[in-house]
Amino acid sequence: MSSRDAILNKVRQSLGQPVSDAVRQKAVAGRLKKAPQGVIPARGQLALADRVELFCDMAEKLFATVQRIPKYDQVPAAVAEYLRGKNLPASIRMGGDPRLAAMPWRKQRALEVKQGASDGDDAAGVSHAAGGIAETGTLVLLSGAGNPTTINFLPEHHIVVIDAADIDGDLETAIAKVRETFGKGKMPRTLNLISGPSRSGDIEQKLILGAHGPRALHILVVGG
């Protein structure tokens, strides 16, 4: 008998099956198909404008910095300004996400834009979030051809662009959108929920920002 069958048999024997397999199979198939929602905190259940406000407040509490800008066209200038303000080299790492690619980066003549995955030597990386969760100030980032996951973790400064209209109240709504995009039961290879810059409290329980991931997380909220 394979290990797989041995384990599954032991599980079945131990459970003793007080109800028939047919009943259990129906319950399991039903739950997997319907994915019933549980308790959704009231905190994030707000109209869009208030939701965006809450998102920004929560993210700042987690030591992210947030900047609101009216239009996508203004993102490259805001990125260049952020780099100058932090005395960083005028260089970013960025994936080929169409929303990012459509922005006027060439107008920032001094800004070097390196395409593709991060090699670990980038001071700053720029990503586009698929969504935001107001409840906890969390960003939703999906991996894909135009969205390297390494940019979320290797650069010292992570700059994330998010469309205000993509900010939802709660985690479940964000999950539902992913399901809509990829199809039921399917997922992107990596889905990162990011709540603030990296940190550690492992030495004497003292919280320090900038562990292995980015030391700083800067969020550009566009529109809203």
């Binding site: 384990i7 905190p41 987690l62 290879r189 990596t190 990162n192 709540s195 990296s198 940190r199 550690s200």
Partner: protein
Amino acid sequence: MQITSPTFKQNSAGALADAQLQKALGNVRSGFIDKRRKAVEALPEFEALREQARAIKDHALENLDLYLEAYEAKVKASGGHVHWAETAEDARNIILDICRSAGALTVTKGKSMITEEIALNDFLAENGIRPVETDLGEYIIQLRGEHPSHIIAPAVHLNKEQVEADFRRVHDHLPPGRDLSEPETLLNEARKVLRSAYFEADVGITGANFLVAETGTSIIVTNEGNGDLTQILPKVHVVVASLEKIVPTLEDAAQILRVLARSATGQEMSVYTTLSTGPRRPGDPDGPEEYHVVLLDNGRSAMLGTEFQDMLRCIRCGACMNHCPVYHAVGGHAYGWVYPGPMGAVLTPSLIGVDKAGHLPNASTFCGRCESVCPMKIPLPKMMRHWREREFERGLNPATQRAGLKLWAFLAKRPALYRFATSIAIPMLSLLDRGKGRFGYLPLAGGWTKHRDLPAPERRTFMQQLGSRNTAAKEAAR
């Protein structure tokens, strides 16, 4: 790792006398409890979420075979591999095979208690593969040749001066005059050293907080980002997880995530919650080329259907130990194996045997704080009592203790005799204290009076006092 649970009493005596440890344990008492309380108070739905979380895990456990099959099918559909391991040894060998196929010399590791349980690091090292722990706390204790003393804060037993000494000893390629006086400088140094390890590693090994049957997804939560760098940079990602990590759907994971970080560190969400499904896809610019999941039983299937099934709801948040007066006093290493605190006192006897770990469920004041803060509402004190019963049934506790309990049981089952016996014994005892109200020494109670005084009883028994009160009340009413 060597099991020292059988010498829990001696371990505890050593821990209580260890000044460095006692100083470090102050950080547990002062930090975690307040942070959790504030996070819970800030979420009115917390109690309702606990109920949901419990119901989800109960449902998943009652249908575990079916959810495991559904999960496996989804992992395969996304291009991943599932390996089933009945024992720790099976899991170690499976992982070694994967590492060898990848030609691995260096393996990075995200924080994982399950790899502690199967003693993976020593095994890989014996087989010529260098395991590098990347979580700051895990890295520190790996340098010291120690094991985690807490399931979410593995180096909580250490002070920064000890970490500084270890870094100076091991990072001997760095200038000796450098400043390492603060946690910030220590973290920066670890960050730099570990950056190169992430890129050198051929295989990255992580645990999992959840396995989602609906999508074949594994989920990890971290604050440092080390788990992510461990799993996206090497060409092979191995997830090691025990059977009970299964949840049915993404919505179910979302419910439990809301109670996990709040109970653990008092955060609303951990910084990084990462959902991984299969290997790199066509067109992806990064990510692992292979994705393996090792599903470990190692005694879990035998807990199903028993009075210990509820323990399989545990999500390893650490709240029980953060609130435990015994853990506060002796720390995690005294428990003598992988899992300390109240959850360890219940789980360890299940996994290594009550004959070895019988002291652990006895090391409880039964104050009940662990159960009251457990996000999964696991009845930890009740299960510790179950272990005490099993220990007694199997004759594992000492003869004098058994004789004493038998005598007490004989009297307790005969109330009239009990009252008679106590009505003689109590006044006699109260006369022996010579008016001090306490005993510094008492025959047969030397184990107690060696370390503290035993309070002397009142002059009369409870029943006698109650009787005279009732009489007085009746007379007053007349």
